[in-house]
């Protein structure tokens, strides 16, 4: 439990808070009767895990639209290993992660050479390639996907049949990811990432190789995405290529942005919680739902660009004076200084 060293160093308060949250997360589903809400919570855990991988790449200044690609790789690899090679889920999982790591290293080495817009587009294209491949290649199930994916084998007395058990599995994935990522962010690796994000040039003159550190982030992010994908496949018991399309990647981005980009771990969790539950409430708006979601998104980005956590931490003053000055700037067309 070495990564916990940091927490114990005179940070009793934080540790206590973490313990309370942990206990709450474990007890929470026991208080919920509805399987529907449990399903949503499982999707929140998986979504938050994916959004954390997005945040990790963003912490190096890269914007990926390909998080769904390795989610799909994990789902398909694990499914094929379990269903065709007859492996146990628990044996297939490490092999899946290994495959994802190798793929991520190969493609990452190519993709990461482009920063900025080019990286956004190429990861989007890569996600599209994965979807197309899954649809076009028959041994991957074609467009109809694969059904009847078995549940993970039980470990001793723990059986993976109920939603509750999958909630704990997904929660374990989420917490493990959070722990690993926190360890990375708090080490010099995380500092190097942040340096690259804030100024690649300056980072270079400090002896940090942006390329290598970005590839490292890409590989770690991809492994974690594959882990989430593998859990997803065995939870949903059927996978189709469409489920991993471009929209998923965009939604993953939304989770991270909405939660607050400066909060690499808590932001994705809050973001996915909100972005999964609010549209569910909006289902009653029927066909107006996408429009309302779109407007909500714009409002948050335009008026609370720090995301939910950023806004709670540093609430904007909604004074008349500020609006007045904003109006004046709009009239004169000048840039605002940082006070806004």
């Amino acid at each position: 439990m070495k990564p916990l060293n940091k927490l114990t160093q005179g940070r009793g308060k934080k540790l206590l808070a973490a313990a309370v949250v942990l206990v709450a997360l474990i007890i929470l589903p026991l208080c919920i009767e509805s399987d529907y809400v449990k399903h949503l919570l499982i999707m929140v855990c998986l979504g938050a895990t994916l959004a954390m991988t997005f945040s990790m790449l963003f912490s190096t200044g890269l914007i990926t639209l390909g998080a769904a690609a390795f989610y799909a790789v994990g789902a398909y690899a694990s499914t094929l290993l379990v269903m065709n090679a007859g492996l146990s889920f628990w044996l297939a999982l490490p092999l899946t992660l290994l495959a994802a790591a190798v793929l991520a290293l190969g493609f990452g080495a190519i993709f990461v050479r482009n920063a900025g817009v080019a990286f956004v587009i190429i990861t989007l294209i890569f996600a599209q390639v994965v979807v197309l491949a899954a649809g076009q290649l028959d041994f991957l199930g074609g467009w109809g996907g694969i059904i009847g994916i078995p549940r993970p084998d039980s470990i001793g007395p723990i059986q993976f049949t109920s939603k509750l058990s999958f909630y704990y599995l997904a929660l374990a994935v989420l917490l493990l990811t959070a722990l690993v990522f926190q360890a990375l962010y708090s080490s010099r690796i995380g500092r190097a990432w942040r340096a690259i994000k804030l100024s690649p040039n300056l980072a270079g003159t400090l002896g940090i190789n942006p390329y290598r550190y970005r590839v490292l982030a890409f590989v770690i992010a991809s492994i974690v995405a594959a882990l989430a994908g593998s859990v997803y496949a065995h939870y949903s018991q059927n996978i189709t290529p469409d489920a991993f399309g471009g929209w998923l990647s965009i939604y993953i981005q939304l989770y991270a942005v909405l939660g607050g980009l400066e909060f690499y771990i808590l932001g994705p969790v809050i973001g996915s919680l909100v972005m999964i539950f609010v549209p569910e409430y909006l289902r009653i708006m029927k066909e107006w739902e996408p429009i309302i979601t779109g407007v909500l998104l714009l409002v948050i980005i335009l008026f609370f660009p720090g995301g939910i956590l950023g806004t709670v931490k540093d609430p904007p003053g909604l004074s008349l004076k500020k609006f007045h000055s904003l109006y004046n700037r709009l009239k004169t067309g000048k840039k605002l200084d940082k006070s806004s």
């Binding site: 509805s34 399987d35 529907y36 809400v37 399903h39 949503l40 999707m43 649809g135 076009q136 074609g142 467009w143 109809g144 996907g145 059904i147 009847g148 949903s236 018991q237 059927n238 996978i239 189709t240 469409d242 489920a243 399309g245 929209w247 998923l248 909100v274 609010v278 569910e280 409430y281 909006l282 289902r283 009653i284 708006m285 029927k286 066909e287 739902e289 996408p290 939910i308 806004t311 709670v312 609430p315 904007p316 003053g317 909604l318």
Partner: protein, 416 residues
């Protein structure tokens, strides 16, 4: 600190807004008279897609009318049907979430009307363990699967086929070779395969199947490919009935295709003709929509009249998915029970036949999917040929005869 508090309150109010909306009186229907109970029925449709919105409109039109006119009577108790419809965004995850909500939150025991194989298949992982009865608009092997006991397909794509090719033979006696032009997805590939099987049985030679990505608008490359294969007939299994079909016809026409055309689906003529010239449709043999036959059934003409009165623009596509509703009503009436398990086992074992705006329909078995219960649908059909800008009626087939024809075409004597 005050500012922060105010902000948090605002934020919470903002988040709670949807909850408030859901609780507001407008959302709950007026309480029905005491002796009539309300039965919740679920549906999940893609609201980001024309098809889903049209189906929703159709349900919103026929269900209140049905409640007012006859209603559903089970064991002497009259029920008003209340449809809970959610958006599934046409995706697997969306379908799964919608069905989870219908089953676990709204506690519906019947889901009637789902479109698209991805959301349906995803939903089945919820409905089957929960023993919820599903009538869906899909019939792929992943849906009509021997492991699934509570799902019934009401899509009639495949079962349309067997009699179509004899009519084609009759209209074009010299035609020998066929090329399929299909969307590159599960439905398109399945249907192209089934079409090839039936066409071969009817004495045609299938040269090839050309697949195009579903959202394609530029069909020129595919049309040139089809023309370069030089077939006598082009068939369109699984093609969307609207402008997509029109664009395909137009592209073939522009590429110089002169042969015969056959459509296993009733085309949405107004949309097709908005993009394709009349000449491009000349001589097409097709299933005719029930509203366009010389003597349409009263149900069909009433449906079209009601639709036009309520929504204006007539949508032939809206007819496509409503048989599920009539099937459900008939199934419950026949079993005289609201227990989905009882209804499912009754109609699985004894079959079901019903009347809808689409004509008479009945359940059939699917031995080719190793499914020996009544689980898929055949519906009476009308055939026509498109000449000089309108339909020429060729003939029709009843549901019973169609079932027999299917048996002969697909199940090779294994039918018992």
């Amino acid at each position: 600190m005050k500012k922060r508090l105010a902000f948090i309150t605002l934020a919470i109010a903002f988040m709670a807004m949807p909850l408030l909306i859901s609780c507001s009186p407008a959302a709950t229907p007026p309480a029905p008279p005491a002796e009539v109970k309300t039965l919740k029925i679920g549906a999940s449709l893609p609201f980001t897609d024309s098809m889903g919105i049209d189906t929703k409109k159709a349900l919103e039109m026929i269900v209140p009318a049905f409640n007012q006119a006859v209603g559903l009577t089970v064991k002497g108790q009259k029920y008003n049907l209340d449809f809970v419809i959610y958006d599934d965004k046409y995706t697997a995850d969306g379908g799964r979430a919608a069905v989870e909500r219908l089953v676990n939150e709204d506690k519906v025991q019947f889901i009637v009307g789902q479109i698209g194989s991805a959301p349906i298949v995803a939903g089945l992982t919820v409905t089957e363990p929960a023993k919820v009865l599903v009538f869906c608009g899909g019939a792929s092997d992943k849906i009509i699967n021997p492991n699934n006991k509570y799902v019934f397909g009401t899509a009639v794509w495949r079962t349309n086929l067997p009699p179509l090719f004899p009519y084609l033979k009759q209209a074009f006696p010299n035609a020998k070779t066929i090329v399929n032009l299909s969307p590159d997805d599960e439905t398109g590939k399945n249907l192209a395969r089934d079409n090839s099987k039936v066409a071969t049985a009817a004495g045609f030679t299938v040269l090839d199947s050309v697949y195009y990505p579903r959202p394609t608008q530029d069909f020129a490359p595919f049309a040139t490919k089809v023309v370069s294969l030089n077939p006598d007939v082009v068939n369109f299994p699984g093609t969307a009935a609207g402008t997509s079909f029109g664009l395909q016809l137009k592209a073939l026409y522009e590429a110089g295709y002169k042969g015969a055309l056959v459509s296993p689906m009733p085309p949405n003529l107004s949309e097709v003709l908005s993009v394709a010239p009349k000449e491009a449709l000349e001589g097409m043999v097709t299933i005719m929509p029930p509203t366009d036959v010389p003597n349409p059934s009263s149900m069909a003409s009433q449906y079209q009249k009601d639709w036009t009165a309520k929504y204006g623009q007539w949508s032939v596509a809206s007819l496509q998915w409503i048989p599920a509703f009539y099937a459900f009503v008939e199934a419950v009436k026949k079993t005289d029970s609201l227990d989905p398990g009882a209804v499912a086992s009754n109609i699985s074992a004894n079959g079901l036949s019903w009347e809808s705006a689409n004509g008479k329909a009945m359940l059939v078995k699917r031995p080719d999917y190793k499914n020996n219960r009544f689980c898929d649908t055949v519906s009476s059909l009308n055939f026509g040929k498109f000449t000089n800008g309108k339909y020429e009626f060729l003939g029709s087939i009843s549901a019973e005869d169609l079932a027999k024809a299917n048996e002969a075409a697909f199940d090779g004597g294994s039918w018992k």
